[in-house]
């Protein structure tokens, strides 16, 4: 086997340029396979990052819903989602590992002489930190005591800071407003903590890229204006997360109970259902629960529905919301991208394989005499077969290695030139698959020429001119 491989390499070296051209098809096929896979993997990671940023698949939101038609007449009996539901779920559903009740209030926030309306201001328990994958960068999260005592404290995201005190990019230094006072609907709150700045990998790279570049004044005509969100791409999920303001749940109930939205996202309904006759329990905007596993999701949801139907007196004024659809969309997108990329790479590999077969056929017809000589000194049909096949595989594998190198270079080039996209990720699996394909293509392309060469009659081959 060793000398046969050496003979193959020598033959390839003897026709350097021709071999290189032959390899080109495989180089293109393998590099497009690897580069495609890297791009798709990068996009997949970007999408999954956003999914994880909002809590992942195991998080289920329970939110108010329209009553089903047959229960419409019981609307005034509906109790809404309350803290009793939290207790009931915690006690009865073993798979629920974390609950986070939420009271959303539409507010106007002012401080430092500026005013704005945040996207999300809600009263939560400290567990919300874990539920929504928040991380405190400065100060602290409010704790159970703050909640119990209904203290006027709040934790803000960076977007609130940016609006009221200015973004680090614009004013050149980072302001940490922990300890400052903030007026929420006119009520003073002390900022005790600030979340870290959430951004996707893509946004982070873009921001760093902008920092490296000289700041270029935007050519702008007409009056000063906000040019919209288009300049700031990236996940809605991250922007929403950054503009969060959290207050203790009890504080919201004490101060703003009339404002609590009970209709899912959007403005509070005028005929608020939270005006329940016996208002024994504070009504929530929504309730998030986290499950230990999502393996038996339908069964768990059914179990939760059963529990909630008891606390809701049989009135189904709630619904579940999961991220399954989002996850499925990501899966579908990734699968489609992989299939189309794989198809393109497959066609290039096919063309490359045909090129190799063509060259091997030409090569054996100009080496008929050599084959005759080798057979006369004792090469068996098998030896000739292996020699030609080895040449084909060596060409293909060398092409495969060049293709992997080209793909790595290409991926690096792409992320250098355009740092705004999701960074492509070259996985060892993709490299392995590409290598495997180049071997397979080499074998398939060499098979027919090798059989043809092995079957040559030695007498005729020796006579061949």
């Amino acid at each position: 086997m060793g000398p046969t491989l050496v003979a193959g390499l020598r033959e390839i070296w003897a026709h350097k340029f021709r071999s290189l051209l032959t390899m080109l098809g495989i180089v293109l096929g393998v590099s497009s396979l690897v580069a495609m896979s890297a791009l798709v993997t990068g996009m997949e990671r970007g999408a999954k990052e956003a999914l994880i940023a909002i809590g992942g698949l195991a998080r289920i939101r329970i939110e108010p819903a329209e009553l089903p038609a047959e229960q419409r007449h019981l609307a005034d009996q509906a109790v809404g989602i309350t803290l009793r539901d939290v207790e009931a779920l915690e006690q009865n559903i073993p798979l629920v590992t974390l609950t986070s009740p939420e009271m959303r209030i539409p507010v106007t926030v002012s401080a430092n002489g500026r005013t704005f309306r945040p996207w999300l201001c809600s009263g939560v328990r400290p567990a919300a930190l874990e539920m929504f994958e928040h991380r405190i960068a400065h100060g602290r999260m409010f704790n159970e005591i703050d909640d119990e005592l209904a203290r006027n404290v709040c934790v803000i995201g960076t977007a609130t800071r940016d609006e009221l005190w200015g973004a680090p990019e614009d004013i050149g230094r980072e302001i940490i407003p922990v300890g400052e006072t903030l007026y929420i609907n006119g009520v003073p709150f002390v900022i005790i903590g600030m979340f870290e700045h959430y951004e996707s990998e893509q946004e982070r790279r873009e921001r760093e890229f902008r920092q490296r570049q000289q700041p270029q004044p935007q050519a702008q005509t007409g009056p000063q204006r906000d040019r919209g969100w288009g300049r700031r791409p990236g996940g809605f999920a991250f922007r929403l997360k950054n503009s969060t303001i959290y207050l203790p749940l009890n504080t919201v109930w004490m101060r703003f109970r009339g404002l609590v939205a009970t209709t899912g996202f959007g403005p509070p309904r005028l005929q608020a259902t939270n005006v329940v006759p016996d208002r024994a329990e504070p009504v929530l905007s929504s309730l998030e629960v986290k499950l230990a596993s999502i393996e038996d999701l339908p069964e768990t949801l059914q179990q939760m529905r059963n529990v909630l139907m008891v606390t809701h007196r049989g009135i189904e004024d709630f619904q579940f919301r999961t991220q399954e659809e989002w996850a499925e969309q990501i899966e579908t997108f990734v699968r489609n991208a992989r299939i189309s990329g794989g198809l393109i790479a497959g066609i290039s590999l096919l063309v490359g394989g045909i090129g190799i077969m063509n060259i091997m056929l030409a090569s054996i017809s100009e080496r008929v005499r050599e084959i005759g000589i080798r057979k006369s000194v004792g090469a068996s049909d098998g030896d000739i077969f292996v020699q030609i096949l080895a040449e084909s595989v060596v060409i293909s594998v060398l092409g495969g290695f060049l293709g992997m190198g080209a793909a790595l270079g290409l991926v690096r080039l792409v992320s250098q030139l355009s740092p705004t996209g999701n960074e492509p990720i070259v996985t060892p699996l993709a490299l392995g698959v590409a290598f495997g394909f180049s071997v397979v293509v080499g074998i398939l392309a060499g098979l027919y020429p090798a059989v043809k060469a092995a079957r040559l009659n030695p007498i005729e081959a020796l006579r061949y001119e």
């Binding site: 006369s376 004792g378 049909d381």
Partner: protein, 235 residues
């Protein structure tokens, strides 16, 4: 027991429905250590005979025994192994591989018999020594004269220590002086105990061998009168 025993060997080709008897019921023994020439005009069947003796071809009927092995019903793989270990070929056109140097050409048969690299090198050098070509080991065939190429080819035929060497018009492509040195080399090898079969159409060359067989129309001619044939060509 003879080294080669042919019994009633026939080789029949079919060309466009016509039957061509290239060999017709040939029986022949070659003893170990013999130096024998097979002569005959072109188309007489001597090449076919050599191909069958050399295990490049199998007879249509009859039996061939080489060194105690019946080869008429051996598989192609077995024939390749026999060619490799028991037979050495020397051709009119030398048939060295142009891309390999002399040493690599001589090593070629040993590659197919699986000799380790170090041993290959040692034996190839010894074979080149025997034909006085050791100083040309690193030359390409194209850098050598015809005589040197043929000596390299003889070294290749010798290197696996075969039981029998077939030389097919070994001097056909050489000038008479060089041809004479090649024949001298064969004589020397025969004196060292090698069995050599020389295939030629030239009775003068055949005259150097102690035993001669003439093939005519696929049969062994009963009484080869070589001296007469030689005189005729000389005139």
């Amino acid at each position: 027991m003879a080294l080669v025993e042919l019994r009633n060997v026939s080789k029949i080709y079919h060309l466009g429905g016509e039957e061509i008897r290239a060999l017709d019921n040939v029986s022949l023994d070659i003893e170990e250590g013999e130096f024998i020439s097979i002569i005959g005009p072109s188309g007489s069947g001597k090449s076919t005979l050599m191909h069958i003796l050399g295990c490049l071809d199998t007879p249509t009927s009859g039996t061939v025994k080489l060194d105690g092995i019946m080869i008429q019903d051996a598989s192609p793989r077995e024939l390749a192994a026999i060619r490799n270990r028991k037979i050495g070929f020397v051709f009119q056109f030398f048939n060295l591989l142009p891309k390999l140097n002399v040493l690599q050409n001589v090593e070629l048969p040993m590659i197919y018999s699986g000799v380790p690299a170090r041993e290959r090198h040692r034996r190839a050098m010894a074979a080149l020594e025997a034909v006085d070509m050791a100083n040309r080991a690193k030359h390409r065939p194209s850098q050598l004269s015809g005589g040197q190429q043929q000596r390299a080819a003889i070294a290749r035929a010798l290197v696996n220590n075969p039981r029998i060497i077939f030389a097919d018009e070994p001097t056909g492509n050489l000038d008479s002086h060089t041809g004479e040195t090649i024949l001298q080399l064969f004589r020397r090898l025969n004196a060292e105990g090698r069995t050599i079969v020389l295939v030629t159409h030239d009775p003068e060359i055949a005259a150097v061998t102690p035993r001669r067989i003439e093939i005519r129309d696929g049969r062994i001619a009963p009484k080869p009168d070589l001296r007469l044939a030689g005189l005729q060509t000389r005139q």
